[in-house]
């Protein structure tokens, strides 16, 4: 038997997370939301939408929530794949399904989403530049030829997921994850995904200035 857990880190996303969950459930019946200390009732919205909710008692950051979600999913003995998914509705369920299929076929142990493998995603010039620089930087430091190092849609086989241990609580976890994968050396592929930039996700998403914080976090590890 195989079971895929969708892990959604969530912090004050009450207006959107319900739709994201109800979009996922028909395809992936096992969805866990890691509530990172939301104060807007996201927990109830997620529960009503049919997801399981794991609640951090205090706000720790997205990286910490991802790690909690992975560890929760690993507690389930039936788990075979773990998929990380954003709460703001910018990922597509079809992409996640295709990524899990690539793991189940045995093609790879880790499938990383990339918005730059096809031309579906519209990215502003500045954001494209920053993401490209981040990808080149991670290629230099890890030797992994990634095209999109900061994509929130990822699928892991359970063996690889068990070896991930994110310590960067805030935003630098994406780079940390790539570094850990470079150590674990799973068979990995990139999969073309579309990022749907809604007004909500644009307002909520990382500002480009946050890349300064990411670099600082990585530097003072």
């Amino acid at each position: 038997m195989s079971r895929t857990w969708i892990v959604i880190p969530m912090y004050n996303e009450a207006t959107v997370v319900g739709d994201v969950i109800s979009g996922l459930l028909p395809v992936f019946p096992h969805v866990v939301c890691i509530d990172d200390g939301s104060s807007d009732g996201s927990q109830n919205v997620a529960r009503e939408a049919g997801a399981l909710v794991v609640q951090h008692p205090v706000n720790l950051g997205q990286g910490a929530a991802l790690q909690t979600g992975i560890e929760y999913a690993l507690c389930d003995p039936a788990t075979t794949e773990i998929v990380t998914f954003d709460a703001d509705g910018q990922h597509r369920v079809e992409d996640a399904l295709a990524m899990v299929a690539r793991i189940r076929s045995g093609e790879a142990e880790v499938v990383l989403g990339s918005r730059f493998l096809d031309d579906r995603t519209q990215v502003s010039k500045m954001k494209r530049l920053v993401l490209r620089v981040a990808a080149v930087q991670s290629r230099w430091s890890t030797g992994m030829a990634l095209t999109d190092a900061h994509n929130g849609l990822r699928a892991f086989g359970v063996g690889t997921a068990a070896r991930i241990d994110l310590k960067q609580n805030r935003m630098a976890h994406a780079s940390e994850l790539i570094h850990q994968l470079a150590e674990i050396k799973p068979r990995w592929v990139e999969h073309p995904v579309e990022i749907i930039y809604t007004d909500y996700s644009k307002a909520k998403g990382q500002s480009l200035l946050n890349s300064v914080n990411i670099v600082a976090d990585l530097f003072f590890r």
């Binding site: 096992h30 866990v32 890691i34 399981l52 909710v53 794991v54 609640q55 951090h56 008692p57 205090v58 720790l60 910490a64 790690q67 909690t68 560890e71 929760y72 507690c75 389930d76 003995p77 039936a78 310590k167 609580n169 003072f220």
Partner: protein, 119 residues
């Protein structure tokens, strides 16, 4: 001469910060930090009462005034304080994360356990 003193000071900052950061928070490092703090406080107080002696020492090192010497030492101690405080903060954050995660997973509903009970 001045540039040499400055380089030595900057190197001192880096080396001491790294040494204190490496060791984490064991008792020896704590003792060293406290000794440095007391020493610095004594020198600062000393410089208030005997500015000329400090100035003479400063001139010996090629720095203009005693107050400049105190200023440099202050910069060094502030940076060391920042570095060690940052490190301690990170340790604290790490423990808080582990504790919160433990509680979160402990308290969460686990459907697979329910499945088992039914069969």
């Amino acid at each position: 001469m001045q540039i040499i003193v400055q380089i030595v000071l900057v190197l001192a900052v880096i080396i001491v910060s790294l040494a204190l950061m490496r060791g984490g928070s064991n008792a020896r490092h704590l003792a060293i930090r406290r000794m440095m703090l007391v020493l610095f406080a004594l020198i600062a107080a000393f410089s208030v009462f005997f500015p000329t002696i400090l100035t003479r020492l400063a001139q010996l090192l090629g720095i203009g005034r005693g107050t400049d010497l105190v200023l440099y030492a202050l910069v060094v101690s502030v940076l060391v304080f920042m570095a060690t405080t940052y490190q301690r903060f990170r340790h604290l954050e790490n423990s808080l994360t582990k504790l919160s995660r433990r509680i979160a997973i402990e308290e969460a509903e686990k459907p697979w356990l329910v499945d088992k009970d039914q069969h």
